[in-house]
């Protein structure tokens, strides 16, 4: 009796109104990716969402119309980001649901004028996750989101996979919201995102081929391809420049330890060892960078030590003896030099061109010399370009692939 009465009490609120948060899945439009652009006018934020269209014919019906898009793109504008989300509701039959988005694309205009106003909402709203990838484009986000992939039905899934792959192959460092925010909050207030571009690679390549062939080639017109290879640098929530492919690769060495990577260089063996000039490609399997700031009197210098383990994946150089430790030492030294050049190039660019600490020296200085950091903190922007640095790299070749020496094909370097 007593329990029953209390149960009744417990049930009262439920009987009042029912359930508040119920949303059936078929009343939801789950956003897979969204992009934000800035447009002129008094509603400056343009939100574009890519929504998965459920494939109703997935079950029994086999004659699905081929080429039907598996996604829908919708746009809406608003005074703020959340206002734009809100306005989307008036256009969508279903509730727009952001929890499944994997990708945020920032349009160029927005990036250049500052993204501060959207960051707060990205952190505050429960539907956004801090593990979403964040990308910047040099076009508008709308174009990127409307563009499809030939292999993936849903472009955001394709981009997601490109980003995951490129981290493993050392092409570019994908950045998720959390890392992006944390870097922006960091001492240098510099962060970066990969740059997504729509490039007509096919056309370029065809025209080059035509040059070789000397005649117009017959090839079908292919759509442009989404490419992620460059990096965009943000400073104080504003885009200030971009890094090209090589610099993006080098950036990985400075802010993260690359798990994969690729070094190609021309190698000419020294006189004491025979062999000819040619190209060598190394696959980096395990890279590690140690950045140590040093303070002497009033000058700050940074020493950067890179260690990498690598394996040879291509040795075009004819006639060299990979089994010879001296040759290997030369290969390693040359590789280290190549790497060093790459790193110096990007630090130079950061210091001279961008004038912003995208390489994270401030964090290292703060961590290791907190007292000195306090002194330079306020005029770090002026100090950073003048900082001296010293890069030293070491590459160790551990593996030569499935074979060791290539057999010479021409007579001159034949094996006797």
């Amino acid at each position: 009796m007593r329990k029953r009465a209390l149960m009744m009490l417990f049930l009262v609120p439920f009987l009042q109104t029912g359930c508040w948060d119920t949303r059936e899945v078929d009343r939801l439009a789950s956003v897979l990716a969204f992009g934000i652009d800035r447009i002129p006018g008094n509603e400056p934020i343009l939100l574009t969402v890519q929504i998965a269209t459920p494939d109703t014919a997935k079950g029994g019906n086999k004659d699905v119309k081929a080429g039907g898009k598996a996604f829908t793109v919708m746009s809406s504008k608003g005074k703020t980001f959340s206002d734009a989300i809100h306005n989307l509701g008036s256009r969508s039959m279903r509730k727009v649901f952001f929890s499944h988005s994997k990708l945020i694309v920032l349009g160029k205009d927005l990036a250049e004028t500052g993204i501060g106003e959207i960051i707060d909402d990205l952190k505050r709203d429960r539907e956004f996750r801090r593990i979403d990838w964040i990308l910047t484009t040099d076009m508008t986000a709308k174009e990127i989101l409307e563009h499809g992939f030939s292999m993936e039905q849903i472009p955001s899934k394709g981009l997601d996979q490109i980003l995951q792959e490129s981290k493993e192959s050392g092409l570019i460092l994908p950045v998720n919201c959390n890392d992006f925010f944390v870097r922006l909050n960091g001492d240098s207030h510099v962060s970066f995102t990969p740059l997504v571009q729509l490039v007509d690679i096919d056309k370029q390549m065809t025209s080059q081929l035509e040059e070789v062939a000397g005649r117009p080639l017959e090839s079908e017109v292919k759509p442009k391809t989404l490419t992620v290879a460059k990096t965009v640098i943000y400073k104080n929530q504003q885009m200030i420049g971009e890094l090209n492919e090589n610099e993006s690769k080098a950036l990985m060495w400075l802010v993260d330890s690359p798990k994969g990577g690729f070094i190609t260089y021309t190698f000419a063996p020294e006189a004491s060892t025979n062999g000819e000039k040619g190209k060598i490609s190394l696959d980096i399997s395990d890279g590690k960078t140690i950045i140590t700031p040093q303070i002497s009197d009033n000058s700050i210098s940074i020493s950067i030590v890179c260690n990498a383990k690598a394996s040879i994946i291509e040795a075009e150089t004819v006639g060299i003896d990979i089994l010879n430790p001296m040759i290997v030492a030369q290969l390693e030294a040359k590789a280290a030099e190549t790497l060093k050049l790459q790193l110096e190039q990007i630090i130079d660019k950061a210091q001279k061109e961008l004038k912003s600490d995208c390489v994270g020296f401030a964090e290292h200085l703060h961590t290791q010399y907190p007292v000195a950091w306090k002194r330079v903190k306020n005029n770090w922007e002026d100090i950073f370009p003048t900082i001296e640095y010293h890069v030293s790299c070491e590459v160790r070749i551990l593996n030569t692939g499935m074979i060791n020496n290539t057999l010479p094909t021409n007579e001159a370097g034949g094996i006797n």
């Binding site: 007593r2 439920f14 029912g18 359930c19 948060d21 119920t22 949303r23 059936e24 899945v25 078929d26 939801l28 789950s30 897979l32 998965a52 459920p54 494939d55 109703t56 997935k58 079950g59 649901f97 929890s99 499944h100 994997k102 539907e127």
Partner: protein, 530 residues
């Protein structure tokens, strides 16, 4: 808790249990008459309109003493009556019987009667009870004493394989409806005088014999005393099945969880008794009760002990997982698909959305329809003859499952969920425990559809609080997890090999805990030693 119970003990006169006839009570303690003829009239009066009541008058000895044999046709063994009772009585013809009554009864009992079970009785009630339980009542002229001659007929099923608890490996005998057969099956397994069986007779109409069996020295005497106390408290008119007793002696009647285990497998009961539990045998049913019970026993099958321990442990693990499925899966499905879509992996969300496209009902109603249909199918399948049962499964599986999806009444994901839940609920070895889970599953569905995962978590907390607050005959129901006991936990999800389980569960056997010699782990013979 306690104050509530006292409310019920109002000072109201305890109502008498209705008896077959009012005169019986008076006659019960009436002594027998010394005249056979008068006694016969009395008994004919008691057993008026009883077609199966039978008697035989005969005259024995040189003194021509009239003797009356009373019995009930059908429940006695005719062969015993003919060959042993009548023959022995006829043999008295030539001998001389002392005329004075009581001595002649003694003579018959001690000298002539060629039968094992025989007892002297003296009241009408006793005689009546004797013949009702299949004995022959022997009345002699000139004495107020009578004899109860054991001629119980053994009509009944032979020992067959138990239907409800089949095993692949293990003994294939099951209990029958006859109490003596059952106790014999047990005695054949435990051959020690410490195995005690105490007799109770319950039910004023049914006079059902109930035996409690336990292993003296191992069992906790407090538990035995408690069992005896609770059984002697019972005052009902009938006990037709052991569940009557179960409901009258369990700790919490309103709980959804059975607090007393039952089995029709002698090996299971024997192993229970050997680890210090008390078995309650009831005449007329193959199901024997085992107390005290802990919740994890409902997840253990007797076959776990006959398979190799690694397989048994992994099978138990599967059972634990599917127990959770059976309880939670539909509730979780509703909670996640209608409240927490962010928890579903994206591709799965897209397929669930696609499957639900065009379904008119909310997920909650959809699941409820399918669950209720499933329960109905299950109920329909149990009682029907086997040949029709198959038709039911065809109708259920094909028509309801497939056609409902085709017609977009339910989504295919819901069918999968309900089917998986159904399969999971069949993974539980205990039917009665499964019933509780079935009921709880529906409450989880309601909670999941009102408050989502939060509601389900609340439900689980309440359920858990209830589980740990239960006790079965003084033993915590959720032991050995809470209160935790490492040694008892050897036989929980994992079943340790026999050589590692040297001790009986602490909660059953308080004193005599050692079950076997320690360190009996088998090893190959050491070849280095001579």
């Amino acid at each position: 808790m306690k104050p509530l119970r006292t409310r019920k003990t109002k000072k109201t006169p305890e109502p008498e249990i209705s008896q077959p006839s009012a005169s019986d009570i008076e006659q019960k303690n009436m002594p027998l008459c010394s005249s056979v003829a008068e006694n016969l009239i009395t008994f004919q009066g008691i057993y008026s309109n009883c077609a199966d009541f039978d008697y035989r008058e005969l005259i024995i000895g040189q003194d021509q003493i009239p003797v009356l044999l009373l019995f009930i046709d059908g429940i006695t063994d005719e062969q015993t009556i003919n060959q042993n009772v009548l023959k022995s009585l006829m043999n008295i013809q030539c001998s001389k019987l002392d005329v004075s009554g009581s001595n002649s009864i003694e003579m018959i009992k001690n000298v002539f009667m060629e039968i094992g079970s025989i007892k002297e009785i003296s009241t009408i009630g006793e005689v009546s009870e004797a013949i009702l339980t299949g004995n022959v009542g022997l009345l002699l002229e000139g004495t107020t004493k009578a004899l109860k001659i054991g001629t119980k007929g053994s009509e009944g099923r032979i020992v067959t394989e138990p239907v409800t608890e089949g095993v692949v490996r293990g003994p294939r005998e099951g209990f029958t409806e006859s109490l003596r057969t059952n106790t014999a099956l047990l005695r054949r397994k435990i051959k020690t005088p410490s195995l005690k069986m105490e007799k109770f007779v319950l039910g004023s109409c049914t006079m059902t014999e109930v035996n409690i069996a336990y292993l003296e020295g191992t069992v906790n005497p407090k538990v035995v005393a408690e069992v005896k106390k609770r059984i002697s408290r019972i005052n009902v008119d009938s006990v037709l099945e052991s569940s009557y007793i179960e409901e009258l002696i369990e700790d919490n009647s309103f709980s959804l969880f059975p607090q007393i285990e039952h089995s029709e497998r002698p090996d299971k009961i024997a192993s229970g008794i050997l680890q210090g539990q008390v078995a309650i045998f009831t005449d007329g049913t193959p199901f024997v009760l085992l107390v005290p019970t802990m919740v994890f026993q409902f997840l253990q099958s007797s076959e776990d002990y006959y398979d190799r321990f690694i397989y048994a442990s992994s099978i138990r693990l599967v059972r634990f997982i599917f127990l959770n499925f059976a309880l939670l899966l539909p509730g979780l499905y509703i909670a996640i698909t209608t409240f927490h879509q962010e928890l579903i992996p994206t591709p799965l969300l897209v397929s669930i959305t696609a499957a639900r496209e065009g379904v008119p009902f909310p997920t909650f109603v959809e699941v409820l329809i399918m669950e209720v249909t499933f329960e109905a199918l299950r109920e329909a399948g149990i009682r029907l003859p086997k040949s029709i049962g198959q038709a039911v499964s065809i109708v259920g599986g094909l028509v309801i499952g497939d056609a409902a999806v085709q017609a977009s009444i339910v989504s295919s994901v819901t069918v999968i969920v309900v089917a998986l839940t159904g399969i999971s609920s069949f993974c539980l070895p205990s039917y009665s425990f499964g019933l509780g889970i079935r009921v709880l599953r529906f409450s989880m569905i309601f909670l999941g559809s009102t408050l989502g995962l939060f509601g389900i978590l609340l439900g689980l907390l309440v359920m858990q609080a209830h589980l740990v607050s239960l006790r079965s005959f003084g033993v915590p129901y959720f032991a050995p997890i809470a209160p935790f006991n490492l040694k008892d936990a050897k036989d929980l999800v994992m079943r340790f090999p026999w050589w590692a389980m040297g001790e009986r569960p602490r909660l059953f056997a308080k004193t005599n805990r050692r079950r076997q010699k320690f360190f009996m782990k088998p090893a190959p013979p050491d070849e280095k030693k001579p």
